[in-house]
Amino acid sequence: MAEVQAVSRPPLILGDKSLTQITSDICSAMLRRPGALWWIGFLFSLTLLAIGATVVTYQVATGIGTWGLNNSVGWAFGITNFVFWIGIGHAGTLISAILFLFRQRWRTSVNRSAEAMTLFAVMCAGVFPLIHMGRPWMGYWIFPYPNFRGPLWMNFRSPLAWDAFAISTYFLISLTFWYVGLIPDLATIRDRAGAGLRRRLFAFFSLGWNGSFRTWQRYEIVYTLLAGLATPLVVSVHTIVSWDFATAVIPGWHATIFPPYFVAGAIFSGMAMVLTLMIVARTVMHLENYITVRHVEVMCKLVILNSSIVALAYGTEFFMAQYSGNPYEQFVFLNRAFGPFAFAYWTMVSCNVLIPQLLWFKRIRTNIAVVFVLSLLINVGMWFERFVIIVTSLHRDFLPSNWASYRPTTIEVATLVGSFGLFFTCFLIFCRILPMIAMAEVKGVVAHERAQRRNRK
């Protein structure tokens, strides 16, 4: 049965690579001097990061008033960015853990980068809850730590406290998972490196990997266990993030649909970001044989699935508002669609629901350039989704006397820009110093395919 299926499917890795070729293809990217394109990208990202660092320093020194928030809209850009980046971070764990458990072999080409992306996105996300505080230097108070302030403890009922746990857990597990997956490849690099610091570093981090059967067996067990551990996190982190809103009393936030809605949205945006990065990487790093059109197509299919779930959620929200008979709730959704922030709402709907429908067509799915543009638009749409949820619910809530508007300041925009700088800077450094593609896993796929081909002959 399995063999019949395998025959009908195109190979995952093109070019009929030998194992040695795979190693050298992937490692050579790290050994070559970086090209002009990398340098341009790196300097650009570093500039953005510097801008971000400057404005955040300024903001912390001057006051959170340098953001465009007000007494009615207490959260806007900062928390939008936070949820956006956390969402981006979801695809990595999904690809590495859930698809691993489901034995989706196509994941091997993209999982390493997707996991790296997750880590960097969670780093970007983690910055925002801290800097959005009025007194970020007191931020550690939201953790339960032994203290001398009498019996003072943090509030376990607050979703923000759950957030802190969820995100730190997610980051740690993702990091561990990523690192464990890296070990065989680190050993490969160690073995190829000459004497010197590089060799010693990789030797240290590869934890004495010797490639024996016993090592491989232990490795596989640990990896599977970690995958099992990480899987619930894919669901839990964004569920908890959604509780930041769902447990509030504010119409537009107070909705039981939020956890699945947020998780689907997160995977949606994460997939789009993976697509964006992979398409860039395969072109720039010449990895067309490893990240094939088939990979892109498979991910596009996941994107359509999630887009449909998100669309269903949008519709359900409107239906529930109408069905509830709650005029405050009804107003919030009418206000979203036709109020002062209608542009944000319709950007969201266009980018997240309408445009992804193009991916039903195979010709579009297989056109790398178009997919690239679509993936960018989806990311824009998903950013606006969070903006719409946060700002349109707050700016016109119960008492009309409180109604206010919101406008970001340049400081806020620069902070968002800076978070992209942080993300891309980290990612570009990652591309240079670590294997972008999991060599050990790809080899497994290639060996498998080769065995199948042999059987056929």
């Binding site: 008033g65 007000n70 959005h132 505080m133 009025g134 923000l160 802190a164 447990t247």
Partner: protein, 1011 residues
């Protein structure tokens, strides 16, 4: 281990091991630094020495050198550090002279409260009065006298003035004293004494907000220039012709108190005076009227005349058979009003704020026909709150401009900024040989003076007041003068050759002139002491020579004033800034106007239809032009205003307001607080008309042109209706935030509160067994005057944020007055709703704070712990009432003098923390401590929150709802009580009492709301 003792073993191992174990143990603890019994070794020595040295060094590391402050060498009796004390005194905010209790703390006054015993103001205080404490600590006040623009000493100045006056006396030149209404009889008598020494001397009085026509009309009708005392509390029908008596007219605190009494629907017997308001713009009083009739400015006197004709007909008086003016409104409206007034003869009141004695005479005539004199108007014991005479002012201005004045003394006035033709007047003033200004600040006029002799703040000096005949009040100082300023009474005495102090002068005046009027038998000393302690004394009114009503004075109106069809300019005072003397005060500038909710500016109000016709939007700058005078102001669209009117507030554009250039946080995108002219707003006084012995506050020849510029206004409430915008309306009508009922509904069984069924998911595990603090706010009584906003600001150290922050919706006031319009924009109904922290039992803010910075007390308070707050603002987002205020920046506390108003009982919040109404928890704690010291239970009413204390309408009641006899518990059971957003089960501790509308509302049947 001594052998004398029996050795007990603890375990078999120990027994078997014997002494070996002891040795082992000794070895194990060999390292213990300070072994008992052993000789200290090298290590022990070093350890002990190091510890001692470090300890000695650490004790030297104090945080700061200790400075011992010894405030008083001899402790005054009854004054304890850290405890407040109160001095009864008189408010200097305006000439209404409300009774005050100045709250002092460690030698400095920090808060002003209404004196509840005071027979005129009855415990209330307005926003201006509350804010006037900042005047005491104002760094713009002159510290010493000035001669020809330079600082000088009092001796030099006095000598020069005396010398110049001698010359004037010899040359028989004219001496004039120009003041606003002098509330103080002692100062009045001092000025009289001063002027007695000159052959041609006169004391001219004018008021920026003139009541001169009322006094003039009474001279015509009653033969005496008196201002009646209006007793709103006795009226059942009130008709007001353009008199904003709840906001700015003569004595708003007194009238608000009376008005609220006249409309106490839950009193026994229930009362609800019917109130009709004729006006052209939307005034605070108009917002409370049962019937508001919108007329163009020239139509209001006509309406009064036609009413007078109808009342005369009913009374059978032949005096006014027909009106001279065209009838401006439907006959049935006038007929109905005439009927209502006639039925309430002797219990009705007609008040008129129109310029010109002609209309005032008609007003007197109506009141006379209705028998209101002696009932709701008292002229036997009249008011002295406004004494200005515009006719004399006109004469004086002519004299000044003609260069005939030899010496002019200015006290409490700023004629260059307040009067029309100020520029021309300034030139003439500069030519006066001896111009002496007593102004405490350098304003528009005082720099012209040869001598500026700054007078003290009213809180620094002795004085007195007689707001209404028979109520004399003593203004005692709450602090020694902060600079070298000198009370006006001392200055005039000095220039009359009397070197006595203000205390001696006031006291001797009382001995001579007030003491003989008192009824009691006590000695003067006892009388004086009692009066100082109480703040006032009731004495016999000065006999008034009032003649019977003279019908000869009543004449039909001249029909000359017909509308030209163009826009009319109406100049008006705002309750927040009634008088340019307060233009230095940042609190009043940041106080949202009770109706427009605009701060830090004046503006040109236009009716929605007019603005639509001229294609103008809120914030478009227009140019107003009348005969060469032009000012530019942003437009504000004001529902309910007459279509032919453009209304502009007076008292803005003052030079002292240039000080606000530095107000507000400093950062990249900050915008300045002052306008393009460097000041707050623009001065509209040049548009006033001083003609025919009367100041006209409206002009019918204004040209309004758009400039194409924009200046968005800093408005604290962006949306003004309880109905959501039409295109976003899901149906369901207005939101039930403000609820209304009718008199009929109250009468028919609606008087008891029906307890609502409670669906409860949460366990009821927090019983409130002791106190349970709660508040009720009577929306029917609340006039929106905003005194509570300033009272709260002073009490709770609320910072001023500046115009830019208000525009960004970051004002810090803990209590705000929400104002909602309903009905068509041309003729709106208005509701005011004070909104502050509701202290919800199920507070949404409390559950979401990750660091427990906001928690519930066992007495039902929602507490904010500033030093625990990290500033996530989640609580603010989750507050359905949006009453939490965040410190977006470190709001400036740079003015160290102004910081002396800070209440030491309330933390000054730093940046990055949330704050909100605390139900004045410091007052609760204070009262509890006091009761505990006296070993008794707390009494109801003992704790008054700052907003409650100042409310002239007594709309706010605070207390313990667990005490069934408390007033707040009783009001919670009222049939009018509801809670805002009750349906989301936040269980607020604040109950609102529904507005009672005189007419039947359609929605009331469903128990619904009107917005």
């Amino acid at each position: 281990m001594s052998a004398d003792y029996k050795k007990y073993w603890r375990s078999l191992e120990e027994y078997e091991a014997g002494d070996a174990l002891d040795e082992q143990a000794a070895e194990e603890f060999a390292d213990t630094p300070l072994r008992e019994g052993a000789e200290p070794g090298r290590r022990e020595f070093l350890l002990a020495a190091g510890f001692t040295l470090a300890g000695a060094a650490l004790t030297g590391c104090g945080r700061a050198p200790v400075e011992k402050a010894i405030p008083l060498l001899r402790q005054p009796e009854g004054i304890l550090p850290g405890r407040s004390y109160y001095y009864a005194t008189v408010c200097g905010g305006c000439s209404a002279s409300c009774g005050l209790l100045a709250k002092g703390r460690d030698g400095r006054p920090i808060k002003l409260e209404g004196n509840p015993e005071h027979p005129v103001s009855r415990g209330g205080l307005c926003a201006v009065g509350q804010a006037s404490i900042l005047g005491l600590y104002d760094s713009l006040r002159l510290q010493q006298p000035m001669a020809r623009g330079k600082s000088a000493s009092w001796r030099e100045v006095d000598e020069e003035i005396a010398k110049t006056l001698d010359g004037i006396r010899k040359e028989k030149r004219t001496v004039r004293v120009l003041t606003q209404t002098v509330a103080s009889p002692a100062l009045n008598s001092q000025i009289r004494g001063f002027l007695k020494g000159f052959p041609d001397a006169r004391h001219v009085v004018y008021d920026v907000l003139s009541a001169s026509p009322i006094l003039d009309a009474h001279r015509q009708t009653h033969g005496a220039r008196v201002l009646p005392r209006y007793l709103f509390q006795k009226a059942n029908v009130i008709a007001s012709f353009d008199a904003d008596f709840l906001g700015t007219w003569i004595s708003p605190v007194e009238y608000t108190s009376g008005y609220s009494e006249a409309r106490a629907v839950e009193a026994t017997p229930p009362r609800s005076a019917w109130h009709v308001q004729f006006e052209s713009r939307m005034s605070l009083t108009g917002t409370k009227a049962d019937r508001r009739i919108k007329l163009a400015p020239e139509q209001i006197p006509a309406a009064l005349e036609h009413l007078a004709v109808r009342v005369a007909r009913k009374a059978g008086s032949p005096v006014l058979p027909a009106a001279g003016s065209p009838v401006p409104l439907p006959d049935e409206v006038l007929d109905e009003l005439a009927n209502r007034l006639w039925e309430a003869r002797g219990r009705s009141l007609v008040v008129c704020g129109l310029p010109g004695a002609e209309a005032q005479v008609l007003c007197n005539f109506v009141n006379h026909l209705l028998g209101n004199y002696g009932a709701t108007l008292d002229i036997a014991a009249p008011s002295y709150q406004k004494q200005g005479d515009d006719r004399e002012l006109t004469a004086l201005v002519d004299e000044i401009n003609a260069g005939k004045v030899g010496a002019l003394f200015l006290h409490g006035v700023n004629p260059v900024a307040d009067l029309p033709g100020g520029e021309e007047l300034a030139k003439s003033l500069a030519r006066i040989p001896l111009l002496v200004s007593l102004s405490p600040r350098l304003d528009e006029t005082s720099p012209l003076a040869r001598f500026v002799c700054p007078e003290c703040d009213p809180l620094e000096t002795w004085g007195d007041a007689e707001p209404v005949a028979g109520v004399t009040a003593i203004s005692q100082p709450a602090i020694r003068p902060l600079g070298q300023a000198r009370p006006a009474i001392e200055s005039f005495a000095r220039w009359s050759g009397n070197g006595a102090s203000a205390h001696e002068l006031v006291r001797s005046f009382w001995q001579e002139s007030v003491y003989p009027r008192q009824a009691g038998q006590e000695a003067f000393e006892a009388f004086w002491k009692k009066s100082v302690e109480a703040g006032f004394a009731r004495v016999r009114p000065q006999p008034m020579a009032v003649k019977p009503f003279d019908v000869q004075a009543v004449k039909p109106m001249s029909a000359g004033r017909s509308s030209t069809g163009k826009l009319a300019l109406v100049l008006y005072p705002t309750p927040a800034m009634p008088d340019g003397r307060h233009a230095y005060n940042p609190w009043l500038h940041e106080l949202p106007d009770p109706i427009t909710k605009a701060t830090w500016d004046n503006y040109a109000s236009l009716a929605p239809a007019t603005a639509g016709r001229m294609a103008l939007q809120d914030g478009d700058v227009v140019r107003l032009l009348i005969s060469g005078n032009a000012i530019e102001l942003p437009v504000l669209i004001q529902p309910g205003q007459h279509e032919k009117v453009v209304a502009v507030a007076l008292a803005y554009g003052r030079t002292v307001s240039a000080r606000f250039a530095n107000t507000g946080p400093k950062w990249l995108e900050q915008r300045p607080t002052p306008g393009p002219n460097g000041m707050i707003g623009a001065n509209a006084a040049p548009f006033l008309l001083l003609k025919d012995g009367s100041v006209r506050y409206w002009r019918d020849d204004v040209k309004v042109t758009a400039t194409g510029k924009r200046r968005p206004l800093a408005v604290t409430q962006a949306y003004s209706s309880l109905t959501v915008p039409k295109n976003l309306d899901p149906g369901g009508g207005p939101r039930p935030i403000v609820q209304e009922t009718t008199l009929e509904a109250l009468g028919t069984g609606g008087a008891k509160h029906e307890s609502e069924p409670v669906m409860e998911l949460w366990p009821d595990d927090h019983p409130f067994t002791g106190h349970r603090w709660a508040m009720t706010i009577d929306l029917n009584a609340c006039t929106g005057c905003s005194a509570c906003v300033i009272a709260c600001q002073v009490e709770n150290n609320v910072p001023v944020t500046g115009r830019d922050e208000v525009m960004r919706n970051r004002q810090m006031h803990w209590i705000r007055i929400d104002r909602y319009y309903s009905g068509p924009p041309s003729d709106v109904e208005v509701a005011h709703q004070p909104m502050m922290c509701q202290h919800c039992e199920h507070a949404p803010c409390e559950t979401v704070c990750p660091v427990l910075a906001t928690v519930h007390s066992s007495e039902g308070l929602n507490q904010q712990i500033y030093n625990r707050c990290v500033g996530t603002r989640y609580c603010e987002n989750n507050c359905p009432y949006k009453v939490r205020r965040f410190n977006w920046f470190e709001y400036s506390r740079d003015d160290r003098l102004a910081n002396l108003t800070l209440n030491p009982d309330v933390t000054v919040r730093s940046r990055g923390v949330m704050e909100k109404c605390s139900f004045c928890v410091q007052r609760i704690q204070d009262a509890k401590a006091e009761a505990k010291l006296q070993n008794r239970a707390l009494r109801d009413g003992e704790i008054q929150t700052a907003c409650q204390q100042t409310c002239p309408a007594r709309a706010i009641v605070f207390g313990d709802v667990n005490d069934p006899r408390s007033k707040v518990a009783q009001r919670m059971n009222s049939g009018r009580r509801y809670r805002v957003l009750e349906e989301i089960n936040t269980r607020p501790s604040v109950g609102y009492l529904k507005i009672v509308r005189a007419k039947k509302t359609d929605t009331d049947k469903e128990g619904g709301a009107r917005g």
